[in-house]
């Protein structure tokens, strides 16, 4: 197994040290060198770029971080898998694999699940056609290039044709204070396959008791083959000192379906690009986004639902509740290609402001090049209704309980769409724990 033993910084010497430490096929080494060259050519994103003008990263300093060595710290069990019978489990700490398990009945059927950096050597023929091919563009910005050059460990889920994995798989990514994690996730479902992957990320507690910091620069690629069905859940609960950047893309082929649930609760600042491409007729995708922010957190999600084939359906619903001085930015785009007739596209973003100083920006957009489509979008932002609080208090609830009920009710619409009970419970509990009382 490949292990990063020394802390490796994000500079020329660090890149060479990483390359020396990795066991990898030559084509992958080439891919990394190409990405590192792009990193050195590209400027940092700036406030002058439309996509970054609401997301201030001037305080981010890459030199403060290095790839960690995974240490020996204890790691938590994870919340998404509580009470769930799993078919596989993968735990990484600072990008170093600590647990990698897959039930034998699935490995016998050809399912692959484990650290990507290890499996890429054993199954290059499975991985090479997909890795950073159609679902990842290392040239899109400097963070994407850095990730493509430095990614380590990560996870692979491969499900062969017509294999239905009926129990979820679980990955837990833990980050220690001040460390960096550049994990890459690759999910490949061949035609007719089915699987559920529960992925969560968290920070390890800071021994000094402070807010855990760090740098997470991730990439997610999902290929859902014809007639395949994937449920993917991603819960981000990183420490409130962590800078998070991510490029995530799924391709859904003919008659396939993807249900993608996002829980974004942690980090100091997150800038995530989430892209779903419906590439074959009859493909469907449903995205459920739950965001809760507090303190000075800033979460910025940029979603793109691209209809590249006819008769496809996409349905994105993001809901955010914000307290204190936190801020969310949601930019959603439905893009319909010229031939994608009979498209049914929907996107919505609702925001609930729990304090005077929180701020939510919603920027929905449509770009339609076909003439027989139905695309709808909408967004709302509002404060907690004082009359509802009064009503609840008149029935014996405290103000805090009343607000918790209002917040739960606000998220109910999206919780109702999430078909995995442990995910609904984990999100509901994490949010109600965070809600504070406001006058």
């Amino acid at each position: 197994m490949t292990q990063v033993l020394e802390k490796i910084g994000f500079h020329e010497a660090g890149f060479e040290a990483l390359m020396d430490s990795l066991t990898q096929p030559e084509w992958l080494a080439e891919m990394r060198r190409d990405a590192w060259a792009k990193f050195n050519r590209l400027p940092w994103p700036s406030g002058r770029d439309e996509e970054w003008m609401r997301t201030d990263i001037r305080m981010f300093n890459l030199d403060k971080y290095a790839l960690g060595n995974g240490g020996t710290e204890a790691f938590p069990e994870g919340t998404l898998s509580e009470g769930v019978e799993l078919s596989g489990r993968l735990v990484t700490v600072d990008s170093v694999p600590r647990v990698s398990e897959l039930a034998p009945e699935w490995s016998k059927k050809g399912v692959l699940f484990g650290p990507l950096s290890q499996l890429v050597n054993e199954y290059p023929d499975v991985i090479r056609p997909h890795l950073m091919a159609r679902t990842y563009d290392s040239g899109v910005d400097r963070f994407a290039a850095l990730h493509a050059a430095f990614w380590s460990s990560g996870s692979l889920l491969y499900v062969p044709r017509n294999v239905v994995v009926n129990q979820p798989l679980h990955t837990l990514l833990a980050l220690s204070d001040g460390s960096a994690d550049l994990s890459h996730t690759l999910v490949i479902l061949e035609s007719g396959a089915e699987a559920t992957l529960l992925a969560e990320s968290c920070s390890l507690e800071n021994s000094s008791g402070g807010v855990p910091g760090g740098f997470h620069c991730g990439g997610i690629e999902m290929i859902v083959g014809p007639g395949a069905h994937l449920r993917y859940v991603n819960l981000q609960d990183l420490g409130h000192g962590v800078w998070q950047f991510g490029h995530q893309k799924a391709i859904v082929h003919q008659d396939a379906s993807l249900q993608w649930t996002v829980g974004a609760l942690g980090s100091r600042l997150s800038k995530v690009n989430q892209h779903v491409e419906l590439a074959g007729a009859g493909a469907t995708s449903q995205v459920n986004g739950v965001m809760f922010t507090e303190g000075k957190q800033h979460l910025s999600y940029h979603t793109l639902q691209r209809h590249a084939a006819p008769h496809c359906r996409s349905d994105f619903l993001y809901k955010a509740a914000l307290q204190d001085n936190s801020r969310t930015v949601w930019r959603g785009m439905i893009k319909v290609d010229p031939g994608a007739q009979k498209t049914d596209g929907y996107q919505r973003n609702d925001n609930l402001l729990l304090s005077e100083t929180a701020r939510a920006d919603s920027i929905p957009g449509l770009e339609i090049e076909a003439d027989d489509v139905r695309c709808t979008h909408g967004s709302t932002s509002g404060r907690v209704d004082e009359e509802l609080i009064f009503y609840a208090r008149a029935r014996g609830f405290t103000r805090k309980e009343a607000i918790q009920m209002i917040v739960t009710g606000f998220f109910q619409q999206v919780f109702d769409r999430i078909t995995i009970e442990s995910v609904r419970d984990a999100l509901g509990l994490s949010i109600s724990r965070r809600v504070r009382e406001y006058e």
């Binding site: 994000f10 500079h11 050195n40 400027p43 940092w44 994103p45 700036s46 406030g47 003008m53 609401r54 201030d56 990263i57 001037r58 305080m59 981010f60 300093n61 890459l62 030199d63 801020r327 920006d361």
Partner: protein, 120 residues
């Protein structure tokens, strides 16, 4: 090319404090009529000097989060370069559309040639 995403004065190698006032910049480093972008305790703030007076506000335009550091300023007013909102550097008040909420102000104190800031 550096690996920091912004260029501003970092004061973290000088962790001097006067109670809750935190060192921001040397008085001599800021000319009369000038402004400087400074990192104070994980926060980017703008310090202005007018004569012997110093003022400090968040480097945030409340219209759409624009940075005021690149905007023009005259007298006690600074203008956001994105859509032209103006703020009073003494009170943080928004003086014209499209901003209508004040930006945060922070108290400044000058002692022995050093400007200290108390974050609000």
């Amino acid at each position: 090319m550096g690996n920091s995403c912004g260029s501003y004065q970092r004061n973290n190698q000088r962790p001097k404090r006067m109670s809750e006032f935190i060192f921001a910049i040397n008085e001599a480093d800021l000319a009369d009529g000038g402004k400087s972008l400074v990192e104070v305790e994980d926060r980017l703030v703008l310090i202005f000097r007018i004569g012997e007076q110093f003022f400090c506000i968040d480097d945030v335009c409340t219209h759409d989060g624009g940075t005021l550091a690149d905007g023009n300023h005259e007298g006690y007013e600074v203008e956001c370069p994105r859509h032209g909102a103006r703020f009073d550097i003494r009170t943080g008040a928004a003086l014209c559309m499209p901003a209508f909420k004040p930006t945060q102000v922070h108290e400044c104190q000058v002692t022995e040639g050093k400007v200290f800031v108390k974050l609000s």
